[in-house]
């Protein structure tokens, strides 16, 4: 992966960034995919044993035959991208200022197995609302960073880059960009980072919005299970822990072990990334096997995201973020101390396809002063990616009272 940045006089300077992948890296990728050695077919007719051979073979066929990374590269390069060194790691970010000067600054964080590519379709609606059915009062100045170890950000070479540290880095980033009053948003690992910005009460943060209730991993057994909705959510958590947790545990305990395959085999990487939650797996599988994408989860956007991981060689470094967060969570639980209270308004949207679709009662149990709650009628774990318009509507609504 070669990147161009201006030569800095100081590493902490904000440097423009462009993506330029040498052709030989794309050739090598295509050759590796074509040379894939396949295992035998799964023994079942569903995803209960992982990523179905027919799905991943169709993905591989599409990847080598129809897919063009240059389109993604052009899309990224059409946006203003930058890097700046924070706390010793180069942080890559997209920064799109709205033409509406009094727009609300928003830092929005992707998760795993995501990247800035999952957020690209929200850039228009959020920064240029009048062209997307909104009003100037809905405008955001948007900052989309790549998590440390992810995408075009640097890979930490020292320990300690857990989500709390990333949260502090984001606060530094916003300050460096001159934003003294801003909001934050995140799903998946991004939800954890965003929530920890709130709990650390970082300077300038006036509110945040989440689409995943990460506290369930720590206090899930203490949440109410009375209503039908609560029981369904509890069941979803139990199913995740029993059947959908393998990738999580492996990355949280042995990121290097799985990392070798993720760096060496494009299909290994693609399968590992597809094997996330059940809802998104079947939606993605439909895009490839049935040619019927759900929302914006198109073959092209799915392979954009996977190719970004491949070209940046970030399989193991992204897995390592789970190792760091797993250790931080274990230490927090062992301390017996509750996390610091949140002092800014929190908004939450439950998307129906989320791994556990959190009922309002659960969200209120974690955030007693919940400022905004809504259940969207469609969208899953990758809501910003799958349903950018629904998602942008939620972000606008959640932060309206903070303007």
């Amino acid at each position: 992966m070669s990147v161009t940045t201006d030569t800095p006089s100081s590493a902490t300077e904000i440097r423009p960034f462009q993506v330029e992948v040498p052709e030989e890296e794309l050739d090598d990728l295509r050759q590796r995919i074509a040379a894939t050695r396949w295992p035998s077919k799964e023994l079942v007719a569903d995803r209960s044993q992982g990523v179905q051979l027919a799905t991943i073979q169709e993905l591989a066929r599409y990847w080598t035959s129809d897919y063009d990374w240059r389109t993604c590269e052009a899309k990224l390069n059409a946006l203003p991208q930058f890097t700046t060194e924070i706390d010793g790691v180069d942080i890559h970010f997209i920064h799109v200022r709205s033409q509406h000067e009094d727009a609300l600054p928003l830092i929005m964080t992707h998760g795993w197995p995501g990247s800035v590519t999952e957020l690209l379709e929200t850039v228009g609606p959020l920064t240029d609302p009048t062209a997307h059915g909104g009003t100037p009062g809905d405008a955001f100045h948007l900052v989309l960073p790549s998590l440390p170890g992810y995408g075009f950000s640097g890979e930490p070479t020292e320990l300690g880059w857990d989500a709390a540290r990333t949260g502090r880095a984001w606060a530094e980033l916003m300050e460096r960009l001159g934003y003294t009053r801003y909001v934050a948003q995140g799903g998946d690992v991004g939800a954890l980072v965003t929530d920890l910005m709130g709990r650390q009460a970082v300077e300038g943060l006036v509110g945040y919005h989440l689409s995943l209730l990460t506290a369930v991993l720590a206090i899930g057994d203490r949440l109410p299970k009375e209503s039908e909705q609560e029981r369904a959510a509890a069941e979803a958590v139990a199913t995740f822990r029993e059947d959908g947790f393998g990738y999580f545990l492996e990355m949280a305990t042995r990121p290097q072990t799985i990392g070798y395959a993720l760096l060496d085999s494009p299909v290994a990487l693609a399968a590992w990334m597809l094997d996330h939650d059940t809802d998104s797996y079947y939606k993605i599988s439909r895009a490839f096997v049935d040619g019927e994408p759900v929302g914006n989860l198109t073959r092209e956007s799915i392979v954009d995201n996977i190719t970004l991981y491949w070209l940046t060689g970030t399989g193991p470094s992204t897995a390592r973020s789970y190792w760091e967060d797993g250790r931080a969570l274990a230490a927090a639980l062992a301390s017996g101390q509750p996390p610091p209270a949140v002092t800014v308004p929190v908004g939450f949207t439950t998307f129906p396809g989320e791994i556990w679709a959190s009922p309002r009662s659960w969200v209120e149990a974690v955030y007693p002063d919940l400022a905004y709650f809504n259940e969207a009628d469609r969208g899953g774990h990758f809501a910003a990616w799958e349903e950018p318009d629904v998602f942008a509507g939620e972000v606008r609504a959640a932060f309206r009272s903070l303007r």
């Binding site: 894939t36 395959a261 085999s265």
Partner: protein, 403 residues
Amino acid sequence: MSVTTEKSLDATAIRPFTGETPQADLDDLRARIVATRWPEKETVDDLSQGPRLATMQALARYWAEEYDWSKCEERLDALPHFITEIDGLDIHFIHVRSEHEDALPLIVSHGWPGSIVEQLKIIDPLTNPTAHGASAADAFHLVIPSLPGYGFSGKPTTTGWDAVRIASAWTELMKRLGYTRFAAQGGDWGAIVVDQMGVQASPELIGIHTNMPGAVPADVHAAVLSGGPAPAGLTDEETRIYENLKVFFATDVGYAQEMGTHPQALYGIADSPVGLAAWMIDHDAASMEGISRVFDGEDDGWGLTRDDVLDNITLYWLTNTGISSGRIYRENKLGFYDVKGVSIPVAVSIFPDEIDAAPRSWVEQAYPKLMHYNQLEKGGHFAAWQVPELFVPEVRTGLRSLR
């Protein structure tokens, strides 16, 4: 991997088997190793993130430049191999009859990530004891099968091949070979299989020897899995094993959780030799450490060589059985170490680096007809492979009272 077996009208006949590796497969393997795309170095100095980059690079260098599979192939070719269809699946096995006619028939079962390669060092001492300082009365007729989905056995195409079904198949195999009075031995999955043979208690099975006993009392097993406090009244030794198991289940079972839920997400262990090797080396902490030392140029404390380790990994690679071997975890419904209810005579050998080095107190409760219990001074999870000089006398002594 191409194999030759004699044509037979009857699939359940016992057919001679010869493995022959096409040069093209070996060339392809070497080319893939050389072309490995490496991750960056782990961020720790220990094995807490998985096999270290330096270890894997030393392994890859040796594998591509010095290792010679044909030596292993010659050793295998010198043994009588057979295939027979049992319960719809081709089962491969080595069958070495002792020249001592009244030798005790013994079926020895490997586990994961093992193979018949683990057992090669014990064949001659067990079948030909007089050449190894033991008496004719110590002789065994030895049967060493490859588990379904492993090595040269067939890969199941339907679900259901768990340890219970394999136990029935092993009994059927021994009966098909004409053995009406035999013993069984196992470690890892092989131990769970021989425990199940003991539970099924076919009248032909006169006793078992295990180096991974299912002996953890129910309350301790439950506490280990929940991470809860140890039950009251444990001795110091029992407490130590309880603590070992708790660490193992909290931090060392990512591989088992992944294979136990989504083995089909591990495309990298079919496509990447280094991905496969790292996945196999990352077994229990002691084995990972010992094998790492072998490639780091140090002594593992047992006696494994680089060739030993690569013989086993290369067999997995050439038979493309990474995923099919992992499926046994998905099929499994049993606990790894809990008491299974074996009522026939049992001999137990405890090697100190075993994950569950069960104390005599637990073993006596678990196996009412315990005929032998011994704690060895060295060896680990792969005892037959690591310390054959200790393992062989244990099998002889352990099963002596059955003769």
